[in-house]
């Protein structure tokens, strides 16, 4: 059974989410503080995490970062805040989606099912090691190195890198990239792709002054430069 960890301090909101998910066949657990959320994420290994940004004992953004470092479970941000900055920041720190409260029960379920589909429908990893200059990508072990430096990538960043390195120098359109990484049912805007792409580039290109290894082909999409950071 799919296990959802609900991190929410408001009792009525937590009970609503719990009832909704259980009635739809999910197993749930809940945490009302950042500290207990980290403990439960570590011990229960949930399949999906719902995270309310406004917890009493810590900043939700910091918690999102900590949860991402603990594992690969998709994180959906629940926020009553209309503040775009919070949503973008959460996505930058590894959240997979967000839902603005008050949400409709059906929307929340649809979002959870969508992140699960995206997670589970990704093509099986190839054991082939890909070498592009000093960049080495190993999809089977979810590892990427530049020289001796291991890149610490989120699941989404790694999926983007894996898609781009499958055929170096071949342009991948934004649509094709979205479908490869998030699935065809993704319905967020281009800014989500932009945020993850910017994070990946920052990690790939750290310490170099030249053009990015990931080239933007204006009006078409992206391609991985075969000679690395030229």
């Amino acid at each position: 059974m799919t296990h959802v960890l609900i991190i929410e301090d408001a009792p009525d909101a937590a009970e609503l989410a719990t009832a909704l998910l259980r009635s739809s066949g999910f197993d749930t657990s809940s945490a009302t503080t950042a500290a207990s959320a980290v403990d439960q994420a570590r011990s229960l290994r949930p399949d999906v995490i719902l995270l309310d940004l406004g917890l009493p004992d810590g900043d939700g953004i910091d918690l999102c970062r900590a949860l991402r470092e603990l594992g690969d479970a998709p994180i959906i941000i629940l926020t009553a805040r209309d503040d775009e900055v919070d949503k973008v920041l959460a996505l930058k720190l590894g959240a997979d989606d967000y839902v603005t409260k008050p949400y409709s029960p059906r929307e929340l379920l649809a979002r959870i099912e969508a992140v699960l589909r995206r997670t589970r429908s990704r093509p099986p990893s190839s054991d082939d090691e890909r070498r592009i200059g000093d960049l080495v990508v190993r999809p089977s072990s979810h590892q990427a190195h530049i020289g001796d430096r291991e890149l610490e990538l989120t699941r989404t960043e790694f999926a983007i890198l894996a898609a781009l390195t499958e055929h170096p120098d071949r342009v991948l359109s934004r649509t094709a990239l979205r479908e490869r990484v998030w699935g065809a049912d993704w319905y967020a805007g281009d800014h989500v792709v932009d945020v993850h792409m910017a994070n990946l580039r920052r990690k790939l290109d750290a310490g170099t002054d030249g053009p990015s290894r990931i080239r933007t082909v204006r009006g078409v999409g992206y391609r991985m430069a075969s000679a690395g950071a030229e």
Binding site: A10, P11, D12, A13, E15, L16, A19, L20, S23, G54, A80, K101, P102, Y103, S104, P105, R106
Partner: protein
């Protein structure tokens, strides 16, 4: 009090609870959620009034913000609307706004307690 599904202009739309019961497969979890909501509504009402009396506008905004989380899902549109005004209210909070807040909380509590005791079947 309205039972019309599109009645967002009314203080309480009890049809939202019926729809939620359909989503959850039963009316029982909705009763439990409404009971929890009523407890929280009372607690947050006290927080708003105490913070307003103390001139603590940040806590007025925070408590009002919490009120909005589930109010609309439970059809408490009046609470949601007044809480939105409180969330943006300048210091000092207008007395008329606080009066409207108290009034809409009373109406909401009465309507939801009625729904709990009578249930959706009695209105059909």
């Amino acid at each position: 009090v309205s039972t019309h599904p599109d009645a967002e202009g009314t203080p309480v739309d009890l049809a939202a609870l019926d729809e939620l019961a359909v989503d959850l497969g039963s009316v029982e979890p909705v009763r439990s959620i409404v009971e929890t909501y009523l407890t929280e509504l009372g607690r947050r009402r006290e927080l708003v009034l105490a913070a307003a009396a103390a001139g603590d506008i940040d806590n007025v905004h925070h408590a009002a913000h919490l009120l909005r989380s589930t109010s609309r899902t439970l059809g408490a549109h009046g609470v949601d609307r007044v809480a939105a005004e409180l969330e943006a209210a300048p210091q000092p909070v207008d007395g008329g706004l606080l009066d409207r807040f108290e009034q809409v909380v009373r109406i909401t509590v009465s309507a939801l307690e009625g729904w709990i005791s009578e249930g959706p079947a009695s209105r059909s």
